[in-house]
């Protein structure tokens, strides 16, 4: 059996990146995720696996280094926190448009602006509905444990390459900073160029050989007819991802009268709320989206017929609640409870909010 070790979420993710056989990490320090690049620099993965780690001069430079290396067909990642992701959004849009697989990690803090360095979830819209310009989607995974911080690295790379699309791990300062027991994945080998081509096709800029046409990585097409065809292709791909890659976890939903919907740290809080509620005889459940995009719309639609209400619990002013409302289609009451600016709700105040918003009004 593998050894359990105690690690911060940020560190577990960095170690998991080395073990996933990542080829490169480009980043810029920002609280609360600087441990990622600190850990990588300390570990010297260049010696362990040949993985490149570089501290860029800015988030703009870092994401564009990811663009360059990712367009070479390599497994490349970056990490940042909210304000840094705003800067990276230009590059993310370009990568979505150019169909470059990569992993972007956002260890969220409260915003807007410089905001706070304490945990937040107010980048839900940015992650799931754009952030950068244009019609594009990221595959967004939301870990709620340190173990998932580690496990989602390899999963993100797999999905990113399967669909030639950027993937994002949307975490928060609490999951990034906390330590928990974690079982690290086994070390995988970095893929050779030949293996990358065999697995994912010969689309990357690896140097034009005589036996193929040149490979061009671009998001530009000045002819609107062709740009529309490209956009239709992207939308078809997104539809396929929605059909195949939706992931979520249900906790005590089977007999629940009220379902909380929450991800990341909020989902951890809600597990305690279930316990407190059930001690009082309230049948509470939690539906935890693991992929925020694609959003687990169907199970929520299905539960809407059975339950007395949904509470969206987020560390923001109410963002994911809009997707829940769309999924519920008016069949059940939907409320939101959230703290902002780096404040974290206590389980007892969430329970109180649930009772006030969904039960005493019924």
């Amino acid at each position: 059996m593998k050894e359990a070790i105690l690690m911060k979420g940020n560190e577990a993710m960095a170690e998991a990146a080395i073990r996933a056989g990542a080829d490169a990490y480009f980043g810029y320090p920002i609280t609360p995720q600087s441990e990622v690049i600190e850990y990588l620099m300390h570990e010297e993965p260049q010696k362990r696996t040949g993985m490149v780690v570089l501290q860029a001069e800015s988030e703009l430079a870092a994401i564009n280094m990811v663009y360059g290396a990712g367009a070479c067909g390599k497994r490349v990642m970056t990490s940042s926190s909210s304000p840094g992701i705003s800067l990276k959004s230009e590059g993310i849009s370009y990568m979505a448009g150019s169909e470059i697989p990569c992993l972007i990690v956002n260890v969220m803090r409260g915003g807007p602006g410089l905001g706070t360095i304490q945990p937040g979830q107010s980048d839900y819209f940015q992650a799931t509905k754009g952030g950068g310009h244009g019609d594009y989607r990221l595959i967004v995974l939301a870990p709620s444990t340190v173990q998932e911080m580690a496990d989602f690295v390899d999963l993100s790379f797999k999905l990113a390459f399967k669909y030639r699309n950027p993937a994002m791990i949307l975490s928060d300062g609490a999951i990034g900073q906390m330590m928990e027991k974690v079982y690290l994945p086994e070390q995988k080998e970095r893929l050779s160029n030949e293996k990358i081509i065999e697995l994912y096709g010969d689309w990357a800029t690896t140097g034009k050989t005589a036996n193929r046409e040149r490979n061009i990585i671009t998001s530009l097409d000045l002819k609107p007819e062709r740009q529309e065809i490209h956009n239709i292709h992207l939308q078809e791909k997104y539809k396929m991802i929605e059909e195949n890659e939706t992931r979520y976890e249900e906790i005590r939903c089977e007999d629940a009268e009220y379902i909380m919907v929450a991800f990341g740290t909020s989902a951890r809080l809600c597990q305690k709320v279930i316990q407190l509620g059930r001690e009082k005889g309230l049948k509470l459940g939690l539906l935890r989206p693991i992929t925020l995009w694609p959003f687990p719309k169907k199970p929520i639609t299905d539960y809407a017929e059975k339950v007395k209400g949904f509470l969206s619990v987020e560390m923001n002013a109410g963002q994911m609640v809009e997707d829940i409302l769309l999924a519920v289609e008016g069949k059940a009451p939907v409320e939101h409870y959230g703290r902002m600016g780096g404040m974290i709700a206590s389980p007892s105040e969430i329970l109180q909010a649930l009772e006030e918003k969904l039960i005493s009004n019924n």
Binding site: A61, M65, S98, T218
Partner: protein
Amino acid sequence: MTTSVLTPEEIIKKGKVVFKKTKLINDVPLSYCPGCGHGVAHRILMEVVEEMGIWEDTIGVAPVGCSVLAYDFMNIDMQQAAHGRAPAVATGIKRVYPEKYVFTYQGDGDLAAIGTAETIHACNRGENIVIIFINNGIYGMTGGQMAPTTLEGMRSSTSPYGRMVQTMGYPIKITEMVAMLPGVAYATRQAVHEAKYVRKAKNAIKKAFENQRDKKGTSIIEIVSNCNSGWKLSPVEANKWLDENMLDYFPLGDIKK
């Protein structure tokens, strides 16, 4: 006496090849204005890549600007970068492919305005890449707005009364700036508006790629070029204006070698 110089008729008659387009330039119409320096710069760049036999190992990065479609014209693997970010993109490529040849091809707005940080820091890290920098003192693609390299008093659509340095700052000599960085192996300023300059510019590009082969650090080749459309001049007048104005402020020659 007359045998050393052949007439055009004699050349054709003898079937002697005096010019052959490099196979690395695609057979498509260039999107550049007639008289623009980009075409020549593209050609000599691709000639160097062909002559060095490195086309299978060369990856180029196109900028945002007139040469945004450079990848349509060069028959090698290329990436198109966001505005100003080409040196960061090239860094990413070079770091995962240290044995490949990587170059950026950028204009003055891309390299010396919006991408200044990426330019300086790629040079400061001594990224082992080649930067081709076309300086025509204006934003060509967007219709002739003021560039960081627009000369004092020079008119553009956003400096309609001439660049006033008191409010708009001075034309930036970024090649001199980055030449002082220890990571830069070679910084030079060249031109392509006359044959004698073209030969020198090509030699400079060749030296830059040789530097990359020998892992010497960053090489930056500035090419002072024209923009007859943006300058509102005929091609011939534009080249004359370049000679009489641009080269005073942006003198040709090696800055660091």
